[in-house]
Assembly symmetry: C2
Homo-oligomer: 347 residues x 2
């Protein structure tokens, strides 16, 4: 089964890095594993201008490019060598949707954020010979990967900017993500993950609505800022924007990503001692919280930030809530660029 | 089909007031309609010490009694004649679960908040001869009924205290309530509302989890205050407290209530002019917002309050969020009593 959504046409151009047989934290072996990535700019001779930006839930390198990279942005390809990497399971890198039988679809092995970061470390060292990244950043699940990078490879990360995410998923967030998973798996057409392509559209629509209800702020719906995007009613917006985003995606891919999100926890590396894990971070870190974020509330993000040695809490406000990450709010984009520019100028 | 949950043993003692054939706003006729209610205290000779307190979503008069009434509480039956009334569709008053065929179950007519308030007006005038209530109050859907009372019968309401609710459901809240409904109706066992008793338990469990995710605050789950109730894990709490609450209830009842919640709008009475509707209120009104409420955010409640002539915005804070209404938080109970005592003392 190939899923047309995950094509070079929709998400490229992207390159592929072959990991070979890749042993996973859970004990499985991901055979013929690969990471899809896209680069912008030129790696400096001293190798010290590299930025790594992993993808978030249901996103690919394409949305990162569109929303964050430009000669007028903090992530300026004239100055930096920017690597946008697709997390495992997102449909471009190794995923349930593109794996070969028998380890395909519902039998694709379970992946952790730690697996992603170990694979990405091989990409930057083996492919590009980079020893230390000038910056690792990411939003949401990208923030989870950023924290994992900074804790697991402290000497390889000079600066870190986790945006709208936590280092250890909270009990409430775990519960929330479980409702996303249940929305898909409860569709009888899901059939334990052995569905026919397109069959799970009811579950995907329900999942999209749950995502919309807490992904955006209440103010966005009530005011309503989505009219600027050409939608006419609340339902038109939720259908045309959010259902439209999820409907062409593969249910097993989304569930794999959601499980990875739910189980993210850097304290796995320190016998469940979170202060010890975050205390290992050497990077200068700007912990960026979206003030209105319901997925990853400011209070949870701030509590972790106090445990990170060379860190500062930065805030950004947007009526788009967590999904301001998508770049739809010019005010969010400007503030993020201020924070990133400041961090990149620091030593 | 009788549903054992809605018994006198579980929710009584309660009385029943026969409405006879009751014509509904939607055009249907509810034949043999009745309201279940419970009273506390004695009606004064001048009839001016009566308090009306309608039920909220999925609740009955019993939880109102347990959480709000007592000789040491603002709602003191030694001083007031307190009428706890069950809204139509809650399983005690006329409901899909107790109606006779053919107008039972999925064919029970659609009910509006306006229908409830007209029925309740007949109860207080025909049964008790009350011309003006000293106070109408309610939480959540009870607040919706309180607003409807104050707008529809301005001379019959001396004081009003809507708690954690709005007079017109916001677009975001409509979307949220639709996810609750969908969680039930998407269960194949729901069978368009013609299910076998107990068959829809998966849908009810999903509904309960969605309710829990935004009904409580994130802080409650993360801290976690629910341990005080004897639960051991997040999942144990959600299952033992929230699923346990919804599982014995009737799916058609819940959906009827949810639709009523979603469509609540006092501006129906004034050609969709909300300021005109709220401007009709003569009651001295304490609009009480739960600061952490995700179902009915402070900002939405505050915006409506400014449109009510003799009103004040009162706040209460609780880590239990919207579901502080249940009375599990002593701090919430104390603050609510302060607000209600102050309002009852005002003229």
């Amino acid at each position: 089964m190939t899923v047309p959504y995950y094509s070079q046409q929709n998400h490229g151009p992207f390159e592929t890095f072959a990991l070979g047989d890749f042993d996973l934290e859970g004990g499985d072996r991901l055979r013929g594993a690969s990471l899809a990535y896209a680069t912008f700019g030129t790696l400096a001779a001293d190798g010290r201008n590299a930025i790594l930006f992993p993808s978030w839930y249901s996103g690919t390198s394409k949305i990162l490019e569109l929303a964050y990279i430009g000669s007028d942005r903090a992530l300026d390809p004239n100055k930096y060598f920017i690597i946008l990497v697709n997390q495992i399971g997102n449909g471009l890198s190794s995923s349930p949707s593109n794996a070969s039988a028998p380890f395909n679809a519902a039998r694709f092995p379970r992946i952790t954020i730690g697996d992603d970061v170990r694979a990405q470390h091989r990409l930057i060292s083996e492919k590009f010979g980079i020893e230390q990244l000038a910056l690792v950043l990411g939003g949401s699940m990208g923030a989870q990967q950023t924290y994992e990078w900074a804790v697991r490879f402290p000497d390889a990360v000079a600066r870190a900017a986790p945006i709208g995410g936590t280092a250890r998923t909270t009990p409430h967030n775990r519960l929330l993500v479980d409702t996303f998973i249940d929305a898909i798996t409860s569709d009888p057409a899901f059939d334990s993950g052995w569905y026919k392509e397109g069959a799970v559209h009811r579950g995907l629509r329900r999942h999209a609505r749950l995502f919309a209800v807490s992904g955006f702020t209440q103010t966005l719906f009530n005011q309503p800022g989505w009219r600027d995007l050409g939608f006419t009613t609340t339902d038109d917006f939720v259908t045309g924007f959010v259902e439209n985003h999820f409907l062409p995606q593969d249910p097993n891919n989304l569930i794999l990503l959601a499980q990875k999100w739910r189980d993210a926890d850097v304290s796995r590396l320190t016998h469940h001692d979170l202060p010890a894990a975050l205390g290992k971070i050497k990077a200068r870190t700007s912990v960026i919280a979206i003030e209105e974020d319901v997925f990853f509330p400011l209070a949870d993000i701030a509590a972790e930030q106090t445990l990170i040695p060379r860190s500062a809490l930065k805030r950004v406000s947007s009526v788009w809530g967590h999904l301001a990450l998508f770049g739809t709010d010019p005010g969010y984009n400007r503030t993020i660029d201020v924070h990133l520019t400041e961090l990149l100028a620091s030593h």
